[in-house]
Amino acid sequence: MKKVSGRSWLLVLVMTVSVVCVTPSYQPLYQALPGWAKAVLPNKGITLGLDLQGGIHMVMEVDEDRAVEIAVDRSVNSLQDLLVDKKIPAESVKRTGPQHITVQFQNADLKGQIQKLIDDFPTFVETDSSGSANSLVWELRETETKRIKDSAINQALETIRNRIDQFGVAEPVVQRQGLKQIVVQLPGVKEPKRAKDLIKETALLEFKMLDEDSQIKLELPASIPKDKEAEVVKQFEGKVPEGDQILFERAFEKDTGREYRIPYLVKKRVMLTGDVLSDARVSIGQFNDPYVSITFDSKGGQEFERITGDNVKKRMAVVLDNTIYSAPVIQERITGGRAQITGTFSTQEANDLAIVLRAGALPAPLKIVQDLTVGPSLGQDSIEKGVKATLFAGAMVVIFMIVYYRLSGVIADFALVLNLVCLMGALSALTATLTLPGIAGIVLTIGMGVDSNVLIFERIREELRSGKAVRPAIDGGYDKALLTIIDSHVTTLITGVALFLFGTGPIKGFAVTLCLGIAINLFTALVGTKVIFDLLYHRQKVETLSI
């Protein structure tokens, strides 16, 4: 009897711990707990997966090669500035290939002078250019290329995290997966499209000057429909002067609100980028039109002052991801380190623009390789149906066990409930995420739990048939079923562990509940029900067993 009471206390203890662990999953109950209990327990319980509560799961890759190109482009810009500063009349400075800069010059005497400038660009080496007297080629060092690629993904991660924080989503997940992928999970997002746009946008803000001297400018159409940009670019191919490009401003018709584009001839040279911003806020203009006011950091402010001072009465384009938002004429030197981005925005667009500007640009465009979006309605549907079907299935099993095994069936049903409570407690303590496949895993575990009891009961029946008394029959049944139960559970556990280690997403969720369930099953089947049998039939003289 001593042994029995020891095990019954264990049973009570396990149940109590499980129930306590479940409480964080049911917030009203959790809030009612005393302070010290809350301090011990995790503050959240089981969370529902995206398939159950709706949300976004996206996997993205950073375009690393583009990140390298962008870095080289920047060096091209600084080299141009440096050449102007030192008054070296080079003909052209261009990025050639993904990681080369080619400088061309008329006067062969300049070569030595330009070669010396590489001291200011330690990340480049000069490639052998003895063959040409009028040009030289620099190449980005291999180590630097690797560093840019490596840091591109970390930067992207950081930037996306910032943006999502500012967008405001409860419990977002933003993490790196493997070498070059980023996983973003936004549970319960109400406006999936807006959230996705916010994440995807490269948000590279650039200030560029319009080319107002070229005659080509006059040939450009005044406006074109949206989506016809490529045709215009093609039409002017070859005509656009060296160092210029055609960019388009997005505009809306006043009456119909239809979107169209205005082509501009813009100098490729970047005067200033969004790097030097310290803040971006939405403001409302005098006609109730929202705009974004930006504040430069001190270095950016000085730079902006110099650029505007040098270009009074000229037009400057505010370019975001190669689309012009506005192209105002600079009226006077702008001091104070502030500027405005105007354009035709809705308040929401202006809001999102401010967010991406504050969070900074992505080092390179993102490629989305996987995108799962579940609307909140499907989640609701799935829960309702899944829960209903599971409850119904559970009821069928409970009834069947009682009909077939009588009182012993009731004990098996108790084990089933114990199983569920323990499983929920364990999932809750691990703050696991419950997905639909996870629920399927629970259903399977219940099936296996029932199977353990069937194995034991059939064995007990055999013992009884062979003429044994009640107590020895129970003990014999448990003993003989033990090995079988362990073998069958271990084999399933092997599958579960393999799924957990190598499975992804939904499969992992399934594996977690399966593995936990199997462990708990072993306990309830071998300790849980046995204690009850022992308590009920501990007297040697019991003559009949309800089985």
Partner: protein
């Protein structure tokens, strides 16, 4: 006591030739299905093949041929449509070749907004998967399957002997192949969730086989004089009521899940349901007779124990 079966004494081993023929056909169909899947000719879900799936829930019933026409006239011709009748739900799938950058999901939604302006809908879910991810998932799934099978064979070989491990693994392969074959014939989509179901039923079918094997091992210690065939037959008969009661309870769970669990769970539960039926059959008619086929095994069954 209520019993479905009393003490039985069916000669299962004697019927092994019929069982082998039946199972041979099932396995053959399964193998054809696997080859077709590997060739990309089967109905592979977009999570493996890459592509786009959009599920819409309409206010009123929508006719599938009208939906197809609307998609075709707007340049989305290669879509597969599936409806979930009672909820006015429509699933549109556009496979492979299209990449995510083309924004297929947005296009599909735009087309339905335009063409069915008087039948409002909400977007239940969209799934877009690039071909590279599909490849990765495929590889992951195969690794998981291989590892779990290797682990299981090793475990059973250690607990019993090699022949039992191999027989159990073959019987399990048989069950998995039978379900894959059935899915292939019915042209059902093989998704990640179905692979999960296949692995689950592998675990289940193994449990069933292990229970029978355990009894065979136990009997070996008691009845040394019986022939192998009689011994195996006896073991199968002894655990028969357990086999049937357990399968029955699992089927009791799976039927409501299949019928009313919602579209996400339907195929998953269906695969498990078939798996349970095949698994029960195979532990009786396939796994145990396979033990007799092992070369040179006659009379040497489990000498060690």
């Amino acid at each position: 006591m209520l019993e479905i079966l009393g003490k039985t004494n069916v000669d299962f081993m004697g019927k092994r030739n019929i069982a082998f023929i039946f199972s041979g056909i099932m396995v053959l169909i399964g193998l054809v299905a696997v080859v077709q899947i590997a060739r990309g000719a089967a109905n592979l879900g977009i999570d493996f093949a890459g592509g786009t799936a959009v599920q819409l829930k309409f206010d009123q019933a929508i006719r599938i041929d009208e939906a197809r026409k609307a998609l075709e006239s707007n340049g989305v011709g290669d879509a597969e449509l599936q409806e979930f009748g009672q909820d006015n739900k429509l699933l549109v799938r556009v496979k492979a070749s299209t990449t995510i950058e083309k924004k297929t999901a947005e296009r599909v939604v735009a087309i339905f907004t335009k063409e069915f302006s008087n039948n409002k809908f909400v977007v239940d879910s969209t799934t877009e998967i690039g071909p590279t991810i599909g490849k990765k998932l495929q590889e992951d799934a195969i690794i998981a399957i291989v590892i779990s099978f290797a682990g299981i064979i090793l475990y059973i070989a250690a607990r019993f002997e090699l022949r039992f491990g191999v027989a159990a693994a073959l019987a399990t392969f048989h069950d998995v192949l039978a379900v894959i074959g059935a899915f292939y014939i019915l042209d059902k989509e093989i998704t990640l969730l179905i692979v999960t179901a296949l692995l689950t039923l592998a675990g289940y079918s193994l449990t069933d086989t292990v229970v029978v094997f355990d009894r065979i091992r136990e009997n070996l210690k008691l009845r040394r004089r019986d022939t192998e065939e009689a011994m195996i037959n006896g073991a199968v008969n002894q655990v028969l009521s357990r086999t049937i009661v357990t399968s029955l309870t699992v089927v009791l769970v799976l039927i409501p899940l299949t019928l009313a669990g919602g579209e996400v769970l339907h195929d998953f539960s269906l695969a498990l349901l078939w798996g349970v039926i095949f698994g029960t059959y195979s532990s009786v008619f396939v796994a145990s007779p396979l033990l007799l086929l092992w070369p040179g095994a006659r009379g040497r069954l489990l000498k060690r124990s």
